[in-house]
């Protein structure tokens, strides 16, 4: 459906009727995945941004922060749920959770504005040169303070409220600081609007930062029309994938009674293991469901950003065609990979093993796919530290750490092999072999990357051994 390449469509969507039709289709595509008002706000603001280029920064800022305030006030994000858990734990009955979260949000906005202003004024300061290190240290100090013996009751609730409000912004701030340091940096209002922008209020910067968006903005009415058509196509495709996932659930889980992977793991741990074929089916199904989930959310977010006039690359692009592990890493979750490359790979690459090219590349890849990956996931689930303590947070994370270690080693070796000149065959049997190798690895690793924290690394290793029929070996 190459409608974005057909002149009739490109001309039509530049008319009033065409724009209205685009808006309606986009709203219908987005609405099933959000509450109605966030869908309306995101779609409306995106269309307005695309069509009102001169007011782009103001619309971005207004939509992003009104969305943040409304979702917090209405309890439609994780912040309030996490905060209520800590309040219940501390028996802090009667504390106004919404007001506390909004207060922290306002304070955070002021602090971020001040930090960004400082980064522009003092581009050689430690904050401007090492934003991620400073932010991670700040988070560590806050967590230590909130979990110390000294903070109990309401003090602890207030501290954790600050952490829950702060952590979702952590991975956006380095991009804003880096752009503020540059000569072409966008104005402060635009940078503030890019912090969890209204099209993707998640922990991951879909669209990276202002610098990346600046390079991808549509600059003519025709280019904007093509971008809008690509946006609508992507939003519709997201719904197809969502439907596919629902169909997969219905066929596999309701009709064929294939268990979920956590259920298969739990049954194995309880000594009621499913037959090996069923357990394999559970692992493959769980991998497929996860892959579809990542893809359709990425398509929704990027689709809305495209409506705002940004010609952004897709978040997930034909991952099944990946012929090497490094290619899979590039294709499957593009913006996560970009975050890891920008914040971990590049800084490491320019600092260590400069005299040893292979070691340099491998280590930088390892820091990105391993250390960065683990840090991002641990921080995303920081509420576990609050409600279940540091020891449980780390001990239940060992399986994911193991996954990061193996993935990073695999991606690093794949990178070295590519640099040494290895090219997978393009013939059909070569493609089949590549598919089986890459996806075989991904499926096996999914046993360890599954984010339910209920099973230990040892239990998962034993489960994996049972899948391969070598349980008696360990």
């Amino acid at each position: 459906m190459a409608i974005d390449e057909r002149q009739w469509f490109v001309t039509f969507v530049q008319t009033g009727a065409g724009k209205l039709l685009l808006f309606m289709i986009a709203l219908l595509a987005v609405a099933p995945h959000f509450s109605f008002w966030p869908a309306l706000l995101a779609t409306g603001a995106a269309m307005a941004m695309g069509l009102q280029a001169k007011r782009r920064s103001r619309i971005l800022f207004a939509a992003t922060w009104s969305s943040a305030i409304l979702t917090t006030m209405l309890g439609e994000n994780d912040t309030l749920d996490n905060l209520l858990d800590v309040m219940a734990q501390e028996r802090a009955i009667g504390m106004p959770a919404e007001a506390l979260a909004i207060g922290w949000l306002a304070l955070l906005a002021l602090m971020i504005a001040a930090a960004l202003y400082w980064a522009r004024r003092a581009p050689h300061s430690i904050l401007a040169r090492r934003p991620l290190v400073i932010l991670l240290l700040l988070l560590a100090v806050l967590c230590a303070a909130a979990n110390s013996e000294l903070s109990q009751g309401r003090v602890r609730v207030v501290l954790w409220a600050g952490i829950f409000v702060f952590t979702p912004y952590l991975w956006f701030l380095p991009f804003a600081v880096m752009d503020m340091r540059g000569r072409q940096g966008e104005p402060l209002m635009h940078q503030m609007g890019m912090l969890r922008p209204f099209w993707s209020p998640t922990y991951l910067p879909f669209g990276k930062g202002a610098a990346f968006l600046r390079k991808h903005v549509a600059t003519s009415p025709a280019e904007l029309a093509v971008t809008h058509l690509k946006a609508v196509k992507l939003l519709c495709w997201a719904n197809v994938l969502y439907g596919l996932r629902s169909a997969l659930d219905w066929v596999c889980m309701e009709r064929l009674h294939i268990p979920s992977m956590p259920a298969a793991l739990e049954a194995f741990g309880a000594g009621r293991a499913y037959p090996v074929a069923v357990a394999w089916a559970a692992v493959i199904l769980s991998t497929a469901r996860y892959g579809l989930k990542v893809a359709y959310w990425a398509h929704l977010f990027i689709g809305i950003a495209r409506l705002a006039g940004y010609r952004l690359p897709r978040g997930s692009w034909r991952p099944l065609e990946a012929q090497t592990l490094i290619e899979y890493f590039n294709r499957f979750h593009y913006y996560f990979k970009e975050l890891l490359v920008d914040l971990f790979f590049i800084p490491t690459f320019f600092k260590v093993f400069k005299q040893h090219p292979r070691m340099r590349m491998f280590f930088a890849t390892f820091m990105a796919a391993g250390v960065g990956n683990a840090l991002w996931h641990f921080i995303r689930d920081i509420n576990v530290v609050a409600t279940q303590g540091v020891v449980f947070a780390f001990s239940s994370f060992t399986s994911y750490l193991f996954y990061c270690l193996i993935l990073a080693t695999g991606v690093g070796l794949s990178q070295l092999r590519a640099n040494a000149g290895f090219r997978p065959s393009l013939k059909w049997h070569g493609r089949v072999l590549s598919f089986l190798t890459v996806w075989g690895f991904v499926v096996c690793m999914h046993v360890f990357s599954d984010e339910s924290r209920s099973q230990s690394l040892e239990q998962r290793l034993r489960f994996m051994a049972s899948l391969w029929g070598v349980l008696e070996w360990i």
Binding site: G182, N330, F345, F350, K351, K354, M361, Q415
Partner: protein, 80 residues
């Protein structure tokens, strides 16, 4: 062969490795546009360090420094 031609050859080889045989314009974006990925960018950095003694750790690295053939040629020419 001058530096610009050598860089063009190097980049063409990188693109062919990715099965991209389309022509490259000297001003065309290679990395921001997605024709080459970030790992290819790092390979290019190693190539420039080894062949033109560019020390990127002394520069404020930004992808725009190496995003097109012309940008790379300017970087090499302007590098002290």
């Amino acid at each position: 062969m001058n530096a610009k031609q050598k860089i063009r050859e190097y980049l063409r080889e990188q693109l062919v490795n990715r099965r991209d045989t389309a022509a490259i314009d000297d001003n065309e974006s290679l990395f921001v546009s997605g024709r080459l990925d970030s790992f290819s960018m790092m390979n290019l950095v190693i190539y420039l360090e080894d062949n033109y003694q560019v020390d990127f750790s002394q520069l404020e690295f930004d992808v725009s420094l190496v995003d097109s053939i012309n940008a790379i040629a300017s970087l090499i020419n302007d590098y002290p």
